[in-house]
Amino acid sequence: MYRYDEFDHAFVKARVAEFRDQVERRLSGELTEDQFKPLRLMNGVYLQLHAYMLRIAIPYGTLSSRQMRMLGHIARTYDKGYGHFTTRQNLQFHWPALKDIPQILEDLATVEMHAIQTSGNCIRNVTADHFAGAAADEVADPRPYAEILRQWSSLHPEFSYLPRKFKIAVTGAERDRAAVQVHDIGLHLRKDASGRLGFTVYVGGGLGRTPMIGKKIRDFLPEEDLLSYTTAILRVYNLHGRRDNKYKARIKILVHETGTEELAAQVEKEFEALKESELKLPEADIQAIDAYFAPPALPARPEGDAALKAATATDSGFADWLRRNLNTHKNPDYASVTISLKGIGEVPGDASADQMDAVADLAERYGFDEIRVSHEQNLILPHVARADLKAVFDRLVEIGLATSNAGLVTDIIACPGLDYCALANARSIPVAQQISTRFASQARQEEIGDLKIKISGCINACGHHHVGHIGILGVEKKGAELYQVTLGGSGDENTSIGEIVGRGFGPDEIVDAVDTIVETYLAHRQDKNEPFLAAYRRLGSAPFKEALYGREAKAA
């Protein structure tokens, strides 16, 4: 993985010192809250319902064991013993005291981490496929490009005060596991006919109150043009993006209002002027960054298959886990492991300090020191020898992280919601917990098959409900929580925005409603090989409406 050089160390250290001084001046009263708020936000410090919240950047979701242990240390020392992994591949602490945050940032800097640009109208943490560098279906590792974008965008003077926040995602396989089409810029790595690497470029995707699928404005952008083309997009946005209305300030609105063709033409015009500038990436620079992401030397471990055969014969729980929580690795002796942070009835994305330490130990012992955070709020060990899977599983059982539900109905994304968040209108986590408990049976979950439920507690859509196969949006109506359901959303290479199925459901009704939707799918699917999303796309919403609203639907 990327290692800080001298410049990076000095840069982060200076930033910590600067923020320490700002906090001191705030506490002494020298700075007012109005003056301080933008400064704290630039360092990832929010004020939430119960306390401050610190959002820490995990660039493209990649962590070393040492970094994970530091997160555990911070959770234990300064917070309440746990942290929350987010849909942006970041980590949030929900209880830090403002007075402690400079020290937390200093501790983080010792493991090459920070919280810069995790808030504010700037280019945020660049996200990527969590199986990057390991997946068998990968064209190229997206992380070197995400790292190049990270370095270029860090405190970029021209792009620190954009009309609104700006999110870039990069994926490197045919299957899009980074939801690139719902980002401000989505980059899909591919090779052209001559074998050159480049990107299909999407712009103007996003969720929130106006969900939009990104528009393809370049079928193939050579890798050397990554920064010049991205700069061109940002320039067009910075110049023309709406600053008069916060709700219309994202680039998706500009793309929508300008028209894709016209916007693409504006970008191409800017790009022409930048193409041969210093932004053109020299091959040597790309290779230098690539070298940091060279895959670990994986020794041959051909004994894996025999070991798994023996172990699964006596341990059905292990067999369940192998069936659900592995992703095919480039090297047939290895696999990528999903560590589910979605235990039945647990809080999606939460991990205790002890669990963080244990995952760090596992990564060090069996996983070449690499951990990933997925945007689906799970952890990944990207490189584990198949021969070691039983040992990893046994340890995960001990620490309560061996739930065999990756991609199943209980693998739910949920934002923090009204239990923590100052913007939320309704709770998300209890809904996720109740659905998880309802569908606890492994056999029933596997019978249902792949099904993504995503829950947001407000229209800002941190829980990605628009792209959930079943999406749930919590709103406040007449002082009570109400949950709107959308169906048919998807955040992959065939992105779609879910459609609202009908009137919302109260907190006591929503789990039954999800159950009804699932039962309707089971009753109507062609066979077990037709997953929920495919069945919905074939059937449309009618049978689901009928099942949910029955008499009302007929009357209307």
Binding site: R26, T32, L49, H50, A51, W95, A97, L98, D419, G479
Partner: protein
């Protein structure tokens, strides 16, 4: 009926303005404003406390009495007064249990 609530600057702790002018950590200690004059007094005290950098995000909230106890009307404020509904072991609700074992 209204209360004045805020977060303490130094650590973000949720607080309510008490009758004696302190910022109390427990909503049961909050001063209840029942008329315009009392509301104005709360607001003025809140503005001054914010100016002295004791608290941030100062807001008036609506409350009623339910079974003799102060009950914020909005769920948001009930969660602020107790702690996350998913973690009875965290926040004020946990402390209250320790303080009042009966």
């Amino acid at each position: 009926m209204k209360l004045l609530t805020a977060n303490r600057l130094i650590d973000g702790e949720v607080v309510w303005l008490a009758a004696d002018g302190r910022w109390a950590e427990d909503i049961t200690e909050a001063e209840i404003a029942r008329d315009e004059e009392a509301i104005e007094r709360l607001e003025k005290t809140g503005r001054e406390a914010a100016a002295r950098n004791e608290v941030v995000d100062v807001n008036l909230i609506d409350v009623e009495f339910v079974d003799g106890a102060i009950h914020p009307i909005r769920l948001r404020e009930r969660i602020r007064a107790a702690g996350p509904s998913i973690h009875p072991d965290l926040g004020k609700q946990a402390r209250r249990r320790v303080l009042a074992p009966v």
